[in-house]
């Protein structure tokens, strides 16, 4: 039976297994333990296109995407 498992890459070095056509951005973020509390200060881009937080639950992944997750850090 063919598997629907595919990969997305996260922040250039980590790979996460997804179910192509079913997994959403929220699923991946949950797996990475970037929960809703931390997500207040997080921005996500898929293939260098920013995905607004309200669209995360409806953003279905198909495999091969490059996810970039950014967070706030100290700086001047």
């Amino acid at each position: 039976m063919p598997s629907n498992d595919q990969w997305v890459s996260v922040n250039q070095h980590q790979k996460i297994t997804i179910e192509a056509g079913t997994s959403t951005l929220v699923d991946v973020l949950r797996e990475l333990e970037i929960d809703s509390k931390v997500a207040v200060a997080v921005a996500v881009a898929i293939d260098n296109q920013i995905v607004t937080q309200s669209a995360w639950p409806d953003t279905v992944l198909h495999g091969g995407e490059q996810l970039s997750i950014f967070g706030a850090i100290a700086g001047g």
Binding site: V10, N11, Q12, Q14, L32, I34, V38, V40, A41, V42, A43, V44, A45, N48, I50, T52, Q53, S68, I69, F70, G71, A72, I73, A74, G75, G76
Partner: protein, 261 residues
């Protein structure tokens, strides 16, 4: 008695600030010390950066204490080497921090961190059109300050000296021209290493200063933060009061009539 908190608020894009001391959050030994120092500084605006989240490392939440203290957040575009990078970073920051304020900084050269004027102007123009309140970090170049103002920047942030150098107002003569010509607030950013430098910037008529390194790397950052707060207020008060004219000849402060006449 002049109460600056009541009478002399700074306004940027409709937002009032009682304190003219802006602060950075970098280089503090830990976030508790950062919070205490920023609280001692009475600063109401803090800068921060954005970075790819380290998925394996610890996630230090610097935001919670800042938001608890009701601070206005000013994310920067640090790390951007081009206008394109900076525009992307600004949009990420808006998404992550729910603010349209951005400290635009583009410095491709890591040795001196000199801001790239051409990329900065390009990015500023686009970001203003995209609805951002743009505060650009820039060299103390009066022509560039005007150009940035003309494309809609809500303030300009000329440097005193290279970032983190603690050299003070090396660019003083050009800062004065910028201050004289500006129709938007002038925030002296970078290079201020001592409260006396900050006071001097305020005496020259700067609208605010931004301090990070000098505070964060002090052996006692909380006391240094307080010292900066006092210096900024003192300098501002002196500017409003009006400084005396500088001359090369003595002008007596006591009557010069012969003592026993």
């Amino acid at each position: 008695m002049l109460d600056l908190e009541v009478t002399d608020k700074l306004m940027i894009s409709g937002h009032h600030f009682c304190s003219r001391l802006f602060t950075g959050t970098g280089k503090f030994a830990n976030s508790e010390l950062m919070t205490q120092s920023l609280s001692a500084s009475a600063s109401e605006l803090v800068t921060m950066s954005l970075k790819r989240v380290d998925l394996d490392g610890q996630r230090d939440d610097i935001l919670a204490p800042l938001l608890a203290n009701n601070m206005k957040l000013l994310p920067n575009t640090s790390g951007a080497k081009t206008a394109q990078d900076a525009i992307f970073a600004a949009h990420l920051a808006r998404e992550a921090l729910a603010t349209n304020w951005i400290k635009l900084e583009i410095h491709p050269d890591p040795k001196y961190l000199m801001p790239d004027p051409i990329e900065t102007l390009k990015a500023a123009e686009t970001l203003v059109k995209d609805g951002f309140v743009v505060l650009p970090y820039m060299h103390a170049d009066p022509v560039l300050a005007k150009r940035l103002e003309e494309v809609g920047c809500q303030a300009v942030m000329p440097l005193g000296a290279p970032i983190g150098s603690n050299k003070g107002l090396v660019s003083q003569d050009f800062l004065q021209i910028i201050i004289e010509q500006a129709n938007v607030p002038v925030i002296v950013d970078a290079g201020i290493g001592a409260p006396s430098h900050a006071a001097y910037a305020m005496e020259l008529g700067a609208d605010a200063v931004l301090i990070n390194t000098a505070m964060a790397v002090s052996p006692d950052p909380v006391a240094m933060a307080r010292a900066f707060a006092m210096a900024v207020e003192s300098g501002r008060m002196a500017y409003l009061a009006g400084l005396g004219t500088v001359g090369s000849q003595a002008i007596a402060t006591s009557p010069l009539t012969a003592f026993l006449d």
